[in-house]
């Protein structure tokens, strides 16, 4: 269903499917919600409107949180967890790419090179940086174990 909604806003859907989609929109709350989101994405891509950030950002954050984090080299190939992508998914993937762009915007990563820097103090150094360094380089096992402890 999401694929068809995405196609609607990309003008890649025939008239008969438009009628079916609009009919379902009136009956199903989930479809109405999805159409609203895809409308916003379409408008952002065409720069037609200002993004209502809070609502959609929350949804994006929630969706990202639900995404499994995978570790390279450990995921079994052909396991039940392995996703396969067909060419029919391209409209959905395109929409997902827009979501990622919007999500990165929502985090407001600062790129202002004129920011005033403060003098570095010991308290400013994130523990995960020290741990990550020791985990990758230390020849002292104690450092290595502490990395595991800080991951709790």
């Amino acid at each position: 269903m999401n694929e068809k909604i995405s196609s609607l806003f990309d003008s890649e859907i025939n008239n008969k499917e438009v009628d079916t989609l609009l009919s379902k929109k009136n009956k199903m709350a989930g479809v109405r919600s999805s159409m609203s989101d895809y409308q916003i994405i379409s408008d952002v891509m065409k720069k037609n409107t200002v993004l209502p950030k809070n609502n959609l950002t929350d949804k994006i954050m929630s969706a990202i949180d639900k995404e499994p984090t995978q570790m390279g080299g450990l995921t079994k190939v052909n396991s039940s967890n392995t996703a396969t992508i067909s060419f029919d998914m391209w409209p959905v993937l395109a929409s997902l790419a827009v979501l990622v762009v919007i999500a990165s915007t929502a985090f407001n990563i600062e790129v202002n090179s004129t920011s005033q820097s403060q003098l570095l103090a010991k308290e400013d150094i994130p523990q995960e940086i020290i741990s990550a360094h020791h985990a990758a380089t230390a020849n002292n096992m104690n450092h290595f174990v502490q990395v595991g402890d800080s991951a709790q």
Binding site: M61, I64, P68, T69, Q70, M71, G72, G73, L74, K76, A103, S104, F107, N108, I109, E110, V111, N112, S113, S115, Q116, S117, Q118, L119, L120, A121, K122, D124, I125, E128, I129, I130, A132, H133, A135, A136, T137, A138, N139, N140, M141, N142, F144, V145, V147, G148, D149, A151, Q152
Partner: protein, 316 residues
């Protein structure tokens, strides 16, 4: 040329090669690097830094040309580290953490497989022989040729070349870190099972989604590096998700074969003040610099000048 002359010439050539091999003092480090991977041994070593000390029980074996190592901490909270040569598993307080390391250099495996880079950046000196863990050991001192690295004192087993003791000193000859065997035995036969009996590898798939230190190796680089300290080469590049934020930071790891420096490139979130300067925590120096929205930090058990050079080397 008579047969006698040919044989005599051949003999001279063989003796010449043998002589040059024995005369090369660096050969002992090459043998030592190989010994730490190939030998079967079990023992206890003591490690000390400026802030803490601990004892570790180690079992190391090479079974069917594959390296296995099990380290058990004897002080503090019970912890174990198991390595099968490719991955490292840390078991601490009933939790299992997976780590990837491209090189296994937990003591006593401290020497690189290729020692040529060490020749360019360290002087090698032979010191006195000394008894370590009831075995005779030859002291090898690697002194830095410049101010970008510390000095390494390594006591190598006289018979089988395994490093038995390591002391790292700074340019004022102050001890930064040391590790030394107190007991060690060789040539035991180990079974693979003893390395895995306490670690249930089937639980890895359950844990990986909860692991905040999940790492992915990346190839896209949006930065350039200006001149780095002599001999340091990039040996690894890791990206990981910043805790609480769905953004990535990057960790570049550089080494000259003995010293290691991590260079972190982290995007700064709005409201966070960028930092600049150098601080020392224990035996580790940290240098911070800000550029174009990124907090750059270099970390290493190297002189402050070295970490400052690394953090200043990056440009976008």
């Amino acid at each position: 040329m008579t047969l006698f002359k040919k044989l005599f010439t051949l003999l001279l050539l063989v003796l010449s090669f043998a002589s040059s091999a024995m005369d090369d003092p660096w050969k002992i480090l090459d043998n030592s690097a190989k010994a730490s991977h190939k030998l079967n041994y079990e023992g206890i070593f003591h490690s000390q830094t400026s802030s803490e000390s601990n004892s570790t029980h180690i079992i190391h074996a090479n079974i069917d040309k594959k390296e296995y190592c099990l380290l058990k901490m004897l002080d503090g909270a019970p912890s174990e580290v198991f390595s099968d040569g490719e991955m490292v598993y840390v078991k601490s307080q009933n939790r299992l953490i997976i780590k990837k390391r491209k090189n296994q250099f937990l003591f006593p495996s401290i020497l690189p497989s290729d020692i040529d880079n060490l020749k360019a950046n360290y002087h090698l000196l032979f010191g006195e022989k000394k008894r370590i863990a009831d075995r005779m050991a030859q002291l090898i001192v690697l002194t830095a040729k410049d101010d970008f690295r510390f000095n390494y004192h390594i006591w190598i087993d006289e018979k089988n070349f395994l490093p038995l003791k390591l002391i790292v000193t700074n340019n004022k000859n102050q001890t930064i870190e040391q590790s030394s065997f107190t007991t060690i035995g060789f040539n035991k036969v180990f079974n693979k099972d003893i390395f895995q009996k306490n670690i249930d590898l089937s639980k890895l798939y359950e844990n990986q989604n909860k692991n905040k230190f999940v790492e992915n190796y990346v190839s896209n680089k949006f930065w350039n590096l200006k001149k780095l300290p002599s001999g340091f080469k990039e040996v690894d590049l890791i990206s990981r998700r910043v805790n609480g934020l769905n953004i990535l930071d990057y960790q570049l790891i550089f080494s000259d074969g003995l010293a290691y420096v991590s260079l972190f490139i982290r995007p700064i979130a709005r409201g966070t003040e960028p930092k600049e300067g150098v601080v020392t925590i224990g035996s580790t120096n940290i240098s911070a610099r800000y550029q174009d929205g990124y907090q750059i930090m270099s970390v290493g058990m190297v002189p402050a000048e070295t970490v400052s050079t690394f953090s200043g080397a990056i440009e976008f």
